[in-house]
């Protein structure tokens, strides 16, 4: 059975291996350069005591490679479309399922071996790409502390493996249900994108209860390292001040990127705002206004990676179960 799977999909495997090898060479070369660039920048900023400003002055890597790394976010989806979608759909479409299912191998074994190898290949390939990207990104992560943000979180660590397993299982299930390759591929793209967006935007920030940190305008003390800012704002004597998005446009104050509309702040301070923070911030502080943020601390990064990967592995498992029921119960 394994030989049949290999014979059927070896061209895909060769192409995938070639693409991975090319990506590996590019990222290894670029990553080594970036790492040494970062090391020497650290050394020289330490000498001149300017390391606190390094993130603003140092630009790491080339835009083309950075773009390519960002684009690896679509790798799981591609695996789902090109490996998962046709895996059983093409057999139904061409009728070869009838050939395979009247050889001396049970249908369940046929399916198990096919799905097993597809998922293994997806995990290996998704994992290899993610490992390269994670290694390549380490100087950037150290410099910018942004790896908890969606754009980086989604392409590093273990979540890409979960995404790849989900995408391929989704493609297989769509193919088993629809029995047509192209519709299965299209459904895979649509459902994969939808589920990824919903979980990333609506669920991820709730995996663990976010921490809240309130501090003074005079002594801003943001959390250390690559924390993930969930929300922020200003609390005054009357409770939280509405953020700009809730209160409309106009001039606003930014708390770590969260806009606070000026019109919601005391009028007495507002006039001072354009004279600079030296008068404005003490004015707000004196009237009992404090900025706050809610955030996921950097220490939870791997917990979040694990939780998100786990969720996608569970969805993948459910999809495999659906596939098995459909293929084993339905007529050829």
């Amino acid at each position: 059975m394994t030989w049949l799977v290999w014979r059927q999909h070896r061209n895909q495997a060769y192409i995938a291996a070639a693409v991975l090898a090319a990506l590996a060479v590019l990222l290894l070369v670029s990553g080594r350069q970036m790492a040494s660039q970062y090391q020497s920048a650290r050394a020289s900023c330490a000498a001149s005591h300017t390391c606190s400003n390094l993130a603003n002055t140092l630009s790491l890597g080339t835009p083309a490679v950075s773009l390519l790394v960002t684009l690896t976010v679509v790798v799981p989806c591609l695996l789902g479309v090109f490996w998962g979608g046709p895996l059983v759909a093409r057999e139904f479409e061409t009728g070869t399922s009838q050939f395979a299912w009247t050889q001396g191998v049970s249908r369940s074994r046929w399916l198990a071996v096919k799905i097993g190898w597809a998922l293994l290949a997806a995990a290996a390939w998704g994992g290899a790409v993610s490992a390269l990207v994670t290694w390549w990104s380490s100087p950037v992560n150290a410099l910018r502390h942004q790896n908890f943000r969606a754009a980086q979180f989604d392409i590093q660590g273990v979540v890409p493996v979960g995404y790849a397993l989900f995408a391929v299982a989704l493609g297989i299930a769509a193919g088993a249900l629809l029995r047509r390759t192209l519709p299965a591929m299209a459904i895979t793209v649509g459902v994969f994108t939808f589920v990824r967006l919903v979980i990333g935007q609506d669920f991820r920030s709730h995996y663990l209860t976010a921490l809240t940190k309130t501090f003074s305008f005079l002594h801003p003390a943001f959390p250390q390292g690559s924390y993930w800012l969930v929300s922020g704002g200003v609390v005054g004597p009357g409770g939280q001040v509405p953020s700009a998005s809730q209160a409309g446009g106009g001039p606003h104050l930014s708390i770590d990127g969260v806009p606070i509309s000026m019109s919601n702040l005391p009028a007495a301070c507002r006039t001072l705002a354009f004279q600079g923070p030296f008068k404005f911030f003490p004015c707000l502080t004196a009237r009992g206004y404090h900025p706050f943020i809610t955030y996921q601390p950097a220490s939870r990064y791997w917990a979040f990676q694990g939780i998100e990967a786990g969720i996608f592995v569970l969805i993948a498992a459910a999809l495999v179960a659906v596939t098995a029921i459909v293929v084993l119960r339905r007529d050829a």
């Binding site: 030989w3 009728g95 070869t96 001396g104 191998v105 049970s106 369940s108």
Partner: protein, 303 residues
């Protein structure tokens, strides 16, 4: 060829519905061991459905079915006993014949790859060429050789010669006849053309409108039926004594196909032996509800 041969296929009130469409209804047949059984019927009569049920590729929605003594399923023990060749001759188009031989060796406990190679060599079919580039006849021959390499006890072939030209058709049937002569093999092969199968079959299952019209050994069926030709007259007496299958009445002449219950005594009618073609057409005409054109050999029209 005693009818006491054990049955390789036995069904009782077998039925298969696809949503609201009845593909096979109340199908009760017995195919004894060692037969080459022709499964005849017009397009859409349920031939493919029956073969797929027999091969375990589809599940019945009602009735009982036993093939080689067990219920068809997905287990290797059952699958090892049957060889199935679907109508569209599905093979992996981008793989070669040699690849298919290797696949068979990997997927079957009992596998005779040498026989396939020899067969292809004798037919001049290239081993290394992608199957998609072979002709229809070559593909059918390859598929049959692969199916036989399993050494099945029961071969189920769905319209295997429908897409072939007359020469390829003859070669295919010769290949099949050789395989049957060589060993312990029963065959069911379907066609909507009786002429395809008449020469090699000794058993007949006739399907029309999702129902079984006839099932039995060809010789016995022919002996049971008779054609009566006589003047135009009342035939109630004959219909009472025998089973009228089909009647063609012209202003001057009446032609009856009957299933006999004892000898026919009406002196006004001449009796004649029935040919397989007349028998099949008679039952088809009965189902169609109109006179069957007796000179036409195609049953369901040409494909």
């Amino acid at each position: 060829m005693a009818s006491s041969d054990p049955a390789v296929i036995q069904t009782r009130a077998l039925s298969k519905r696809y949503r609201k469409v009845a593909a096979l209804t109340d199908c009760t047949i017995i195919v004894p061991e060692g037969r080459i059984s022709a499964l005849i019927g017009p397009n859409g009569a349920g031939k493919t459905t029956l073969l797929r049920l027999l091969a375990g590729l589809a599940r019945p929605t009602g009735g009982d079915i036993a093939v080689l003594g067990t219920r068809p399923g997905q287990d290797p023990a059952f699958l090892a006993g049957i060889g199935f060749l679907a109508q569209e001759i599905p093979l992996y188009r981008r793989m070669s014949a040699a690849d298919h031989i290797r696949i068979g060796a990997h997927l079957n406990a009992r596998w005779d790859g040498t026989s396939v190679r020899q067969r292809l060599e004798s037919l001049g079919i290239p081993l290394g060429q992608a199957v998609g580039t072979l002709s229809g006849g070559q593909r059918a021959q390859l598929a049959l050789a692969l199916t036989l390499a399993k050494r099945p006890r029961l071969l189920l072939l769905d319209e295997p010669v429908a897409a072939l030209d007359p020469l390829a058709r003859r070669q295919f049937l010769a290949h099949l006849a050789e395989a049957v002569a060589g060993g312990d093999l029963s065959v069911v092969l379907s066609s909507h053309l009786l002429a395809d199968l008449e020469r090699i079959c000794d058993h007949l299952v006739l399907l029309a409108g999702s129902r079984v019209q006839l099932c039995g050994d060809v010789d016995a069926l022919l002996a049971e039926h008779q054609i009566l030709v006589g003047p135009r007259k009342d035939t109630t007496a004959i219909e009472r004594d025998h089973t009228l299958v089909h009647a063609v009445r012209t202003p001057r002449q009446t032609t009856l196909l009957i299933r006999r219950n004892g000898p026919v005594v009406d002196p006004a009618f001449e009796t004649a032996d029935v040919s397989l073609e007349e028998l099949v057409l008679g039952y088809m005409g009965q189902h169609a509800g109109g006179p069957a054109p007796a000179h036409q050999s195609a049953i369901g029209g040409d494909q």
